[in-house]
Amino acid sequence: MEKPKMALYWCASCGGCEEAVVDLAEKILDVINLVDIVFWPVAVDFKIDDVEKLPDGSIVASLINGGVRLSEHEHVVKLLRRKSKIVVAYGACSSWGGIPGLANLYDKEEILKYVYGDAPSVDNPGGVRPREKHVEEVELELPSFLPRLLPLDVVIDVDYYIPGCPPTPEVTWKALEILLSGNLPPKGSVLGASDRALCYECPLNNTKPDKILLKDIKRPHQVIVDPEKCLLTQELICLGPVTRGGCGALCIKAAMPCTGCFGSLDEVIDYGGKAVSYFASILDYYTEEDVERILDRLPDPMGVFYRYTLPASRLRGKIKTTMR
């Protein structure tokens, strides 16, 4: 009997998600036993042409990581959608935009100007910029840089999500088990993670006092963390309460506060909004001056509360319409 076909693809991502699949370690062999991988640019030498030749719907599942930032990404994910029964957004970037999505706070020109000019490590006296068309001997067409980064489900229909930056091997394996079991949950479900917030599985949850009211906030490098005590009560911005569990509280166990890479829970409409709302409600401040002071302690609120979810949020970002 022919094994079911599977594809993996990366868009705008760091490669960590690819690494996460490899981190399945010996279990990767079980995967290979169960499925035929028909496309996986980082590991297997198939070309887009090969995918195009496959009949529509012949791939059982495509796991796509990274957000859609280039025209090439858009082209390939649309192709994979056509060829696949199930498309899974794999990892935070694909699901909601992830860290590259924070670029949506700047327009295309601002990004290029910084990356090819102003960034302190750049040495580019000619001011060379990537061009979409290159005509020297032959005409070359490079993928274009889209105005903003898009989560996968804005571009194509997505069936399931596997959260994490990157998803842990445990979460990946659980998700694959579900996908291969044939016993599929409702469309739109998050696979492999918990239905409750991280606190539920956090070993420090029971160390909380009756009421948590914060007088100050601190960043991890400013304190010596007591690893036996809820980090939130140590005035660190831990996003565990607002973040989906399932990761096994890895960061907390390493005495680092949760930064929210598993995203929000089903009942929450907007991750960052909810994060701000929850965090603001336990700040024990009353006056305008207090508010000013706390804002000074938070140099990058977007990077804290919308670190993984900006493009998928209600805010989406800050794209200027006028270009100079």
């Binding site: 409750r196 917030a197 909380k208 948590i212 929000s264 089903d266 009942e267 994060a275």
Partner: protein, 646 residues
Amino acid sequence: MEQPRIGVYICHCGVNIAGTVNVREVVEYAKNLPNVVEAKDYVFMCSAPGQEIIREDIKKCQLNRVVVAACSPTMHEHTFRTVLAEAGLNPYLLEMANIREHCSWVHTDKVAATEKAKKLVEIAVAKASTLEPLEEIEFKVNENLLIVGGGVAGMTAALDSARRGFRVYLVEKKPILGGNTARLGRLAGTDMRGVDVAGSMIEYVKRNGMITTLTNTELVSVDGSVGNFKVTLLKKPTYVNEKCTKCGECVKVCPVEVPNEYEFGLTKRKAIYLPSPASYASTYVIDGENCTKCGECVKICPVNAINLEEESERIEIYVGAVIAACGYDPYEPSVGEYGYGLSNKVITLFQLNRLLDPEGPTNGELKIDGFVPRSIAFIMCVGSLNTTPNSYPYCSRMCCSSTLKDILLLKEKYPNIDVYVIYKDMRTYGRDEQLYLTACEKFVKFARFREAPKVSVTGESLEVTFFEETLGEEISIPVDLVVLAVGMKPPKDVEKIRTILKVGCGPEGFLKEAHLKLRPVEAVTDGVYLAGAVTGPKNVVESITSGSAAASKAVGLLCREKVRIEPTIASIREELCSGCGICVSVCPYGAIIIQIKENTRSAKVEPALCKGCGVCAASCPSGAAQQLKYKDIQLKAQILAATYKR
């Protein structure tokens, strides 16, 4: 969920709505909204025939949701919920669109107001589509009643409730019952003195087995909600027990002297003292704040009635209702305000009452420095009507009649004293007008001021100067005594009482009624009632009346076996809760607890304590806490409808 079938009912409210909003147009608009199967208008939806239209349609059109576009839900939500219930629908499947207060009353542009009314209806319809049936929650009612304040209003409330068969805890922070009334001297329209009225009430209270009186006791906290309050009280020591025979030996040896508040500072008292000179004080008491514990009184007491080691006692009681009857404080002019504090010839009306009282410091003789004044000027509205920078904006209601009553008493005793009343508006309302007429017949001279009169004190002489409106010129009146008709102000611990009882107060600081006109003795918080001057200035009769009225409301609650509370409270879905505890941290009513099962935590709402404020729902990071009837998805439906362009 079943397919929503919504009926929309649009009220004209006479011309209140229909005068500004084109109701017919709104009806037509509503008919085309999603899930709407019927839309109608009527001149008064709240009237019996209006209600009947809805009841009939629910049956005829098999409606399962109802939208009423009319006035504010605070006005009529209850009315229309009852209509739904009567027609067999869950009452919480009603949604109101406020097209009166939020639309017709605040707009003049008829076209725009009509458009807004349509939108408000559309939003309500969107919300209605998401409504779920909710069940009211019932609690057993504790039959006991707490009354805070042992003045005439509190005592009346206590007596009426006890006579009706309910156990009353009457709590007074002073060492003795009677409140301000006991110190008022002769009252208007009767031969009785304030102390006679208060004294006979105290007698009745003592004799009534259903009333437990706790004097020298303060309210510490009140937890729980309507029908079930847990009250913590702090009974402070008086250091003197009932063995006291009132022989008075202790007073002679006590070395501490302080102003006597009972006499409004006209005399001094010792740290051990009789809290009222009247016969109704049963023992001496020690004022813990000023006593130096020197022990002299203990040594001299012939019956060993004094124990300086006595300690405060915390008392916990459980009641179903609370009446706040904490009274008022007389306005105390600041030094120099109308010459007050600069001369002993400038006194307040309350001090005059003491001087005229046969049991007062002068045994009823009006003597200042040993002389009966030949002329007295009464200055009205002191502390009221914004006459001076310190004063309150309101009218204190009782001072005009009270002043004239005192003047008539004075005139009876000293017919030759010249009396001037310098006033702004003589507010002897109702039958008290007869006091004014009689005062005129007795040649009391009335003069009207525009700006607050000036009282100049030079050595022994006093002069009141002001612009007299009728004469149209500034005049000066030299007098031997100036009496300041001071008003009433909120009691000084009102803020504490307000916080403990979770009741509101108005801008002037008095406690706020649930409705100024029709619910004058009820607080906004269910199960808390208000009696006497704590809601605003009142005379003695009015305070007593409101004491009875508050008792009536409390009895109405206590005689019910069960009380129902609205189910529009918070609810936490345990299967989504991570036990992070944020809700517990933010809940202002202590209504959420963390329960630990098999080492995992989850939050739980105590329905009796939840007031439905929604803070937990807003802050819950998991979306597990939701405010019933105001769930995120319901609010989202409203927002989408609000922003949707048709």
